[in-house]
């Protein structure tokens, strides 16, 4: 089993790290700090953060209506939340392009804009916060909320001061998952965002471009930065979950 893992995971990843230092540490630094690389990393971070935050709000909202509300078709909506998990990313990108691209029926053309990057990332990260918050919300004891209501607190105040603190770990862990996912996304952005350096080129697309233009060292260098980021995010998620389970008890 260790052999299987090494063969499939370890050796290839080691190759990436090795290649990134191919032109020495200076080469690594240059590749990662070239204006285009910096721009794509900034865009990737920035867009992923924006998307994570939007998900924090909308994801919680959707989880709320799925748990606390009742309406016809709720079961269907609940199932649909997982669609971005199951749908191939290139298809996701194509569907967004069909509606919000140059041949879209409503006259909005987002193609080749930063909004396109955001939209694509929102699509693929939809399920994370929702699925993270739902079970916690379900288990939540309503007594405290009812008590607060009987003391005269309004709906939003109850949410802010009673419910939200309990949901916080779940929201954060969902947000971290969404962030990790968004940072590496490739298939969904490639068609709709058009890969314009300094404007809409995310890190994964830049890596792809570097591979294809025979600059594997530059590709490896940016990959290592993304790898490092992934590790940090995994760590953060682990810490958050532990904090979350402590918080529950």
């Amino acid at each position: 089993m260790i052999g299987y893992l090494s063969f499939i995971v370890l050796i290839p990843l080691a190759a990436v790290v090795w290649k990134s230092t191919g032109s020495g540490l200076e080469g690594f630094w240059n590749a990662v700090t070239s204006p285009a690389a910096l721009a794509s990393l900034k865009l990737t971070f920035g867009a992923s953060m924006v998307v994570a935050l939007v998900n924090a709000v909308m994801g919680t909202l959707i989880a709320w209506i799925l748990v606390r509300d009742d309406f016809p078709g709720k079961g269907l909506v609940n199932s649909l939340i997982d669609l971005p998990f199951a749908l191939p990313t290139i298809v996701a990108g194509l569907t967004l392009l069909a509606l919000y691209g140059p041949r879209g029926p409503i006259g909005i053309n987002l193609a080749y804009t930063r909004m396109a990057v955001i939209a694509a990332l929102l699509f693929v990260t939809l399920p994370f916060v929702v699925r993270s918050v739902q079970p916690v919300l379900r288990e939540l004891d309503r007594e405290m909320e009812e008590a607060a209501a009987s003391l005269g607190a309004g709906g939003f105040t109850i949410f802010r001061r009673v419910v939200l603190p309990n949901l916080a770990p779940a929201i954060l862990s969902g947000v971290a998952l969404a962030f990790a996912r968004a940072v590496g996304e490739f298939g969904a952005v490639i068609l709709i965002s058009g890969n314009i350096p300094f404007k809409t080129q995310v890190a994964s697309v830049q890596i792809f471009s570097a591979i294809e233009s025979d600059r594997p060292t530059a590709a490896a260098a940016i990959s290592v930065v993304l790898l490092g980021l992934s590790f940090l995010t995994l760590l953060a998620i682990d810490v958050l979950r532990r904090w979350g389970s402590k918080h529950e008890s």
Binding site: Y112, G194, S213
Partner: protein, 337 residues
């Protein structure tokens, strides 16, 4: 027991891989000049539509009966490097001959690949300005590209062959207008300020343009025609000074006999006519005469600058080339890994 499970898994993986690897070894294993076999065609990004019509025509001939095709299309530079890195290929058709020379140097194509009457060139074209229908910005000349606010789309010259043709057309146009070399390079510098995005291939650039980005696309005349045939709302203008684009074809060293038959077919009147219908300028004169492609006022060739062998180093060397310097001053990385 766990150890067995793990070892068993590895064994299965290795066996599966070897099995599929052996199935995928070089196409030299496939014989058949008559009654079958497989040919792999690796080409640059634009001719897929043309080959979609030509391949079935070939399969109707005696030599082509039963021959199956695998095809790959992508940016010329990328494809050439992929073949060098192990992508199987029997027939290669690229945007410029230096992409074929790379394979000669790697021992994958014979050095006499261009010793036929057409010097290995399969189709011609010219660099054109592709504009929105009706040419609303009235772009007619190379100087019009530098008008304030004009956004030019051209692919990345370090992956795309078409991009290199575009740049040499721009450069050559300046020389033909009597400018000095320095002035021509200055023109290129200014032109690149107007380029917002550099896609990997000519076809990607066309997609970007038809997707709504940019005011003018520098591309092959045949790409403009393909777009129009696919219903896109574009027009094209052939500037007064432009370069003759020549796209070469070659057979790989260890390709089966059917590969040679296929290339022979590509020079036949039938195949050349299909190329003509798809927007390419046929190299066979009798077929070319059947089409009325516009003759540019001033047409020059890459030979006027020493051929791609020289131009490749002078202009497109990733570190010292003229274009590399321009790109770096724009902040686009060109370093070769």
């Amino acid at each position: 027991m766990k150890l067995l499970g793990g070892a068993g898994a590895i064994l299965v993986v290795v066996v599966a891989l070897l099995a599929s690897a052996c199935g995928g070894t070089s196409s030299a294993a496939s014989e058949g000049s008559d009654g079958g076999g497989k040919l792999t065609l690796v080409a640059y990004s634009t001719p897929q539509e043309a080959f979609e019509a030509i391949i079935p025509a070939f399969q109707k001939t005696a030599e082509g009966k039963g021959v199956e095709f695998e095809q790959s299309y992508g940016a010329s530079g990328e494809q050439s490097r992929a073949v060098e890195a192990g992508l199987p290929a029997d027939v290669v058709e690229f945007a410029l001959d230096s992409d074929i020379t790379r394979l000669v140097d790697a021992g994958l194509v014979d050095s006499d690949w261009n010793q036929n009457e057409y010097k290995g060139i399969l189709t011609d074209s010219v660099v054109a300005f592709v504009v929105r229908k009706g040419n609303p910005d009235d772009i007619q000349t190379w100087d019009d590209l530098l008008k304030p606010g004009v956004e030019v789309i051209t692919p990345n010259p370090f992956t795309s062959g078409g991009a290199r043709w575009n740049i040499m057309a721009a450069y050559g146009a300046q020389i033909e207008q009597g400018k000095s070399k320095e002035e021509a390079v200055a023109y290129l510098n200014e032109l690149f300020q107007h380029v917002a995005v550099q896609d990997a291939s000519a076809r990607d650039a066309l997609q970007t343009f038809t997707g709504g980005k940019g005011d003018v696309l520098l591309s092959y005349e045949n790409e403009a025609i393909t777009a129009q045939q696919k219903g896109e709302d574009v027009d094209y203008v052939i500037p007064d000074q432009t370069i003759l684009i020549e796209n070469p074809v070659a057979v790989a060293t260890d390709a089966p006999q059917s590969a040679n038959e296929f290339v022979r077919f590509l020079y036949s009147d039938e195949a050349q006519k299909i190329f003509g219908e798809k927007g390419y300028r046929p190299v066979v004169k009798s077929v070319a005469d059947q089409f009325d492609y516009e003759t540019p006022t001033t047409l020059f060739t890459i030979q006027d600058f020493g051929g791609w062998g020289t131009v490749k180093d002078e202009f497109f060397d990733p570190e010292n080339g003229i274009v590399a310097e321009i790109e770096m001053s724009l902040g686009v990385s060109t370093d070769s890994g």
